[in-house]
């Protein structure tokens, strides 16, 4: 758990450095080695690590647009994920998906850039497991900004009424881009929503990985035993802007500072030391994680860019014959000639 968290944090610190290259001094979103937007999860690590520790490769996870910490904890191939983020040919989707759209079917991981839209597919994975009498479970991870979406509320209801093995994990970081939580909901404790669907709801108030681990153990155990879904809300914090380049002028400085001070990783490190783990062992974990991250980033940067023509592939697994191509037709219209 500690290693997953340290890996995720350092991974994103390195991505941030790479992302900003070529964007200094003037931030131009289309410059630099990493394409597109980048949403970092620094401060969210405890939620992913505590939950995914209970999951197997055949369990499904759907993550939102801020996916790296969840992907790392779920065991997504870090090299190919990094190559994908750099838009390289050897990336998970050959450079087609990018950082918000990571798919690793080997460990049943997917994510989506549309808010709350990972919930219905997680319900579907739970439905498939139930129909096949398998004991795999599905976990949908979303932010607290997503709880107003129909897809989330409809998914809770469907999972509950069908008693499906699904755990909904809400990462509550208090901010939906520029909107503070108190302006999007009158329900401070999001786990109370579970009552409306007659399913268990649990909230972990401080971003304490151990407490998340314990709560998730119950929820995932319940799902795996065929006892239906759970809503688990985990308080995390957003150390960064919503996306890289977000000026955060809407956010009070003291809120950003408080988020920086609350560090779930240091908290867990202290817990480990108190539990008798030697400092050297904690540092060894950190060092191993950093080495691994440095290695995959260097590897990914060395990977080739995709062939532009590859853009035309993969629309269908079974492409229809005579599919439209981009070739100019040069056909003459009209009857004059």
């Amino acid at each position: 758990m500690f290693e997953d968290m340290v890996t995720a944090r350092y991974y994103e610190e390195r991505l941030q450095e790479e992302y900003l290259e070529g964007k200094q001094p003037a931030f131009d979103i289309s410059a630099g080695p990493i394409p597109g937007e980048l949403h970092l999860a620094a401060g969210h690590e405890a939620a992913a690590a505590g939950v995914c520790r209970h999951l197997r490769d055949d369990d499904t996870v759907t993550a939102p647009h801020r996916p790296h910490h969840v992907a790392i904890a779920k065991g997504v191939d870090l090299k190919r994920m990094t190559a994908e983020i750099f838009g390289r040919q050897t990336g998970l989707s050959g450079g087609k998906g990018g950082h918000m759209h990571l798919f690793d079917p080997d460990v049943n991981f997917a994510c989506s850039g549309i808010i709350a839209e990972g919930c219905p597919p997680a319900v579907g994975a739970g439905l498939a497991a139930k129909k096949r009498n398998e004991d795999s479970v599905a976990v949908a991870v979303l932010g607290e900004g997503a709880i107003s979406q129909g897809a989330f509320l409809e998914s809770l209801n469907l999972a509950a009424v069908q008693e499906l093995p699904v755990v909904f994990v809400v990462e509550d970081n208090d901010w939906a881009i520029s909107m503070p939580k108190d302006r999007i909901t009158d329900v401070d404790d999001g786990s109370l929503r579970a009552g409306g669907f007659d399913m268990p709801g649990v909230r972990v108030d401080y971003d304490d990985a151990t407490a998340v681990y314990d709560a998730a153990k119950d929820a995932i155990g319940r799902a795996r035993a065929g006892n239906g879904p759970t809503l688990l809300e985990v308080q995390v914090h957003r150390r960064m802007g919503h996306f890289m380049g977000d000026p955060q002028s809407y956010r009070p400085d003291e809120d950003t500072e408080a988020a920086q001070e609350r560090d779930s990783i240091e908290r867990l490190a202290d817990d480990l030391r108190e539990a008798g783990v030697e400092d050297d062992d904690v540092e060894a974990i950190r060092e191993r994680a950093h080495d691994r991250v440095d290695e995959v980033i260097e590897w990914a940067k060395d990977q080739p860019e995709p062939d532009p023509e590859a853009a035309h592939e993969d629309v269908f697994v079974n492409p229809p014959s005579g599919v439209t191509t981009d070739e100019p037709t040069h056909e003459l219209a009209g009857s004059d000639d």
Binding site: I29, P35, K96, T185, G245, E309, T325, T329
Partner: protein, 341 residues
């Protein structure tokens, strides 16, 4: 002509400032106008579509809403039917799937289904376009989707002057108007605009009627019909082509519904050659519509046609692949050369 009027004015605005100026004016004039969307108040819109409005009008009239497109866009429909004039922003057009029922089954159809007894005087603003590598769920243009479904007027400005005049008209219109602004034209710091969208803009309000395409460059050899970002790319291509003695006329559609076929047909009468350029998907889209309309009305005048559009693939993330599928200046040049005898 819009261009001629604007030449007398020295003050230049970015497209986002021009849009906001029109919205602010209409809000001052009419208490029934309000703006609703995600991150539109404190943030000022992710693409600066509402920059400064909250400071003047407060949270009651520039409303941040929870991430719940079905609820707030549907609420705009309800408020419009109650006689208000809401502007609702869908942050990226790609998010339309979340709330399309409220858009195409309610906003667009209620006037018709009520036999004309209900009007829905709202504006749906939304950001479109790629060219910044944000992949399949944040880079689409989707002009064709909204123009295809009946009941919505569809507006696509390409300059600050047009953005202001079209916005005034959109807010005053008694029908639902979908106002699609291209991110790359807004003039935001982190997404540099090409030369062109920043234009002189008069202080006073003015309207640009829907259904009036603008001939942005006159020419005699080939008619290039386009909209949004690709107006500027077509103009750039036309300059290069002119060096080779090819004189391209560039038509900016400005609105898709209603569509100004007259201006297109007149131009075809002059040139006999048609190139249609669109950042949306190729099949069943704007290019097909324009070519079909031209063929219906002026088949005998048409010597050659070409379409330049995104092939039928979702927008890829990596740069070499995005560059491959989104039409650029060179693609437009090549298409014009291909229709030249």
């Amino acid at each position: 002509m819009a261009q001629q009027e604007s030449q007398a004015v020295e003050r230049e605005l970015t497209m986002s400032r021009a849009m906001v100026e029109a919205i602010a004016h209409e809000m001052r004039e009419n208490d029934e106008v309000f703006y609703m969307g995600e991150d539109v108040a404190d943030y000022g819109g992710i693409f600066d579509s509402t920059e400064g409005l909250r400071e003047e009008f407060g949270y009651d009239r520039v409303m941040d809403v929870p991430i719940s497109e079905t609820a707030y866009i549907g609420a705009a429909v309800g408020a419009a039917q109650a006689g208000m004039r809401p502007i609702a922003e869908l942050m990226f057009v790609d998010f339309f799937g979340v709330c399309m029922d409220q858009i195409y089954n309610q906003m667009a159809k209620n006037t018709y289904m009520s036999g004309g007894n209900v009007s829905v005087p709202m504006v749906l603003t939304t950001a479109v376009g790629g060219t910044y590598n944000d992949a399949g769920q944040h880079s689409q243009t989707l002009y064709g989707t909204f123009a295809h479904l009946p009941g919505m007027k569809v507006v696509v400005p390409s300059t600050a002057y047009d953005a202001k005049g079209l916005m005034h008209n959109a807010i005053r219109d008694d029908d639902p108007v979908v106002y699609m602004f291209h991110k790359r034209l807004m003039g935001i710091g982190w997404m540099p605009a090409p030369d062109g969208p920043k234009t002189p803009v008069p202080d006073e309000p003015y309207t640009i009627p829907f259904g009036s395409a603008d001939v942005k460059r006159e020419g005699s050899d080939v008619t290039v019909v386009t909209l949004g970002l690709h107006v500027h790319q077509a103009l750039e291509a036309a300059e290069t082509l002119a060096e080779d003695g090819i004189d391209a006329e560039v038509i900016d559609l400005r609105t898709l519904v209603p569509l100004d076929t007259e201006t297109i047909l007149e131009s075809i009468g002059k040139t006999g050659r048609l190139v249609v350029v669109d950042e949306d998907y190729r099949s069943y889209g704007v290019t097909a519509e324009i070519v079909a309309s031209a063929a219906e009305e002026r088949l005998a005048d048409l010597d050659a046609v070409e379409r330049v559009a995104v092939p039928d693939v979702p927008l890829p993330y990596a740069r070499p692949m995005e560059d491959e599928v989104i039409p650029d200046v060179e693609d437009i040049e090549a298409a014009v050369r291909a229709v030249e005898p």
